[in-house]
């Protein structure tokens, strides 16, 4: 009690809304820019003409280019990024571990393996079936990681991350072995599992979209449960929260989001780790505010990575997942070092 108490800064509704609004505008601007980038660059004026529905042959051509090729790709990047980011935010709160992320607890790789096996067994499986299969595989891998990492009633943070990476690597390798023996056609169809939105079309967006539209709002509605869980089991129980129900309810959302995102763009490395950390830094630790910010940051990050990958050395395309991994890996190592201490 040495320092005089400071009055708290006035937190108006407007100030609270400014951050997500600003981010949303930034992401929108980035999306507009990304729509103009490609093998045939589209100047903003032409792009605007096409988007605003002006008649003319040139505008028609641009419209087709933008709507059939670039827009689904941009939407896939935005959705995938937001889904991984929100999934990671939930995981970090529920297991109370800063190292948790869908790709670091086996969820992403488990989903990828399940998708590979599903398409191998049922080559004509309908698109809507893929996320369900992915979710099943994701839960399998996740439960295996939890069982292996558990130390009595505790779940040591670093151990969870290391076992998650190990199980994830095993799932990925298994998936690749399976693909070696599969037809070239299947291999090509599943190339995106490595983590890219290259070649994303409306069909692919369509299979993940219902999941995103259901689970992203669900995550936000559960934000106070996440806050309670982040206080620890005892405190959450003391406040009358049904902890087991809360945990599995929120994990169901997190795993569902990551698994369906995998069927859209594969595993985008470290997005689910970095975006939540950045969001907490900007918006604090209450999830009602953190979740939307995290979603926007994830969306923006993946779109930026994909756009960067397209303009780095055309016509070569650097996968978005590769760029996010290059950015995220050093941060992961830093966190690992800090948490292990």
């Amino acid at each position: 009690m040495t320092s005089a108490p400071l009055p708290s800064p006035p937190q108006t509704r407007w100030a609270q809304a400014a951050l997500p609004l600003g981010l949303a505008l930034g992401v929108l601007a980035l999306a507009f820019f990304a729509l103009g980038v490609g093998a045939v660059p589209t100047p903003p004026a032409d792009l605007w003409a096409a988007l605003s529905g002006q008649p003319g042959e040139a505008a028609d051509l641009t419209r087709r280019l933008v709507f059939d090729l670039r827009l689904p790709r941009v939407v896939a990047a935005l959705l995938g990024g937001a889904m991984f980011a929100v999934s990671g935010t939930i995981l970090q709160a529920v297991v109370r571990n800063p190292l948790a992320s869908p790709d670091l607890v086996g969820v992403g790789a488990g989903a990828g393996l399940a998708v590979t096996l599903l398409l191998l067994a049922l080559p004509d499986a309908p698109g809507w079936l893929l996320p369900w299969g992915a979710a099943l595989g994701a839960w399998g891998a996740f439960l295996a990681v939890l069982a292996l990492a558990r130390d009595g009633a505790r779940l040591p943070p670093v151990r969870l991350a290391l076992l998650g990476v190990a199980v994830g690597a095993a799932c990925t390798a298994l998936g690749q072995v399976v693909l070696l023996r599969a037809s070239d056609h299947l291999g090509g169809a599943l190339a995106f599992l490595a983590g890219t939105v290259y070649g994303a079309d409306w069909a692919r967006v369509g299979r993940a979209l219902p999941w995103a539209l259901t689970l992203l709002p669900a995550a936000w509605l559960l934000s106070r449960r996440l806050d309670l869980l982040a206080l620890g089991e005892n405190m959450a129980l003391a406040l009358g929260h049904r902890v087991t129900l809360g945990r599995y309810g929120t994990l169901l959302v997190a795993v569902g989001l990551a698994a369906s995102a995998v069927t859209l763009c594969g595993v985008l490395g470290f997005v689910g780790l970095v975006a939540p950390h950045l969001a907490r830094l900007l918006a604090g630790s209450l999830h009602g505010r953190t979740l939307p910010v995290s979603a926007l940051l994830g969306a923006g990050l993946v779109l930026a990575a994909d756009t960067l990958g397209r303009v780095l050395s055309p016509p070569l395309e650097v996968p978005a997942g590769l760029i996010t991994t290059l950015l995220g890996a050093p941060y992961f190592l830093y966190l690992l070092q800090r948490t292990a201490r």
Binding site: S8, A238, L239, S285
Partner: protein, 287 residues
Amino acid sequence: MTEPIPPRPLEASHLTLGYGEQAILSDLNFALRGGAVTSLVGANGCGKSTLLRALSRLLAPSGGSVMLDGQDLHRLNAKEVARRLAILPQGPVAPEGLTVEQLVWFGRHPHQGFLGGRSEADRAQVAWAMSQTGMTAFAGRPLEALSGGQRQRAWIAMSLAQSTPVLLLDEPTTYLDLSHQLEVLELVQRLNREQGKTVVMVLHDLNQAVRYSDELVAVQGGRVYAQGDPAELMTPELLRDVFGLKAHVLQDPDTGRPHIIPYAVARVLPPQAGGLGSPEFMSQTGP
């Protein structure tokens, strides 16, 4: 905001507690006095914190029952219990960046609906809890920027915001220096006298327990060794049997209550009972 005082808010009958197969406490029978400050005392590892956890629904009993206002505590709805009884577990940790006011709002969770709309009553209770604990000026501060004593008061404010007639505190003074310990205990005393709160706490310091409690429950060897007025309870015999201490029991010139001065270890205790009379115990650091 004085709550009506139930005569016997918490009652244990044939209560058996343990983790896994091993029973830590068996066949306990006692009732807590409504409107009083009761301290659970005993040696390290005697099960007093375990008992507090069972009295608050954090730990399910392996036998017997705990009654809250005559209803089985462990069969009541979770939120219903949290509206009648608040517990502050030992050493709680908040996520980084959480401010005092945000923390105190968690105390309203048991009173809020699924979407957590905030009523006028909620706001009033949060403001009241912060003013009672002297935390109003710190409302916007993140917890990690506070001193240990202030942080503990912020957590107590959260429990107060639950507006329960019963408040349970598990070693509320651990890790605090002496002046902050007394600050917390005086706050507890004031809440009891002015708001009529029934308080049950686990305390390590016997003299503090005597000074700030209306009733003591001494736990030893998996049972309640004795329960009653501190003045009658604190005898050299009890100190020997419960704490393994040889001690003088003087009269505190200030309160007229007993004051204990331990001077030797009374017997060699089995190792699992924890280091009684060890320097650790004497200096009141946590277990």
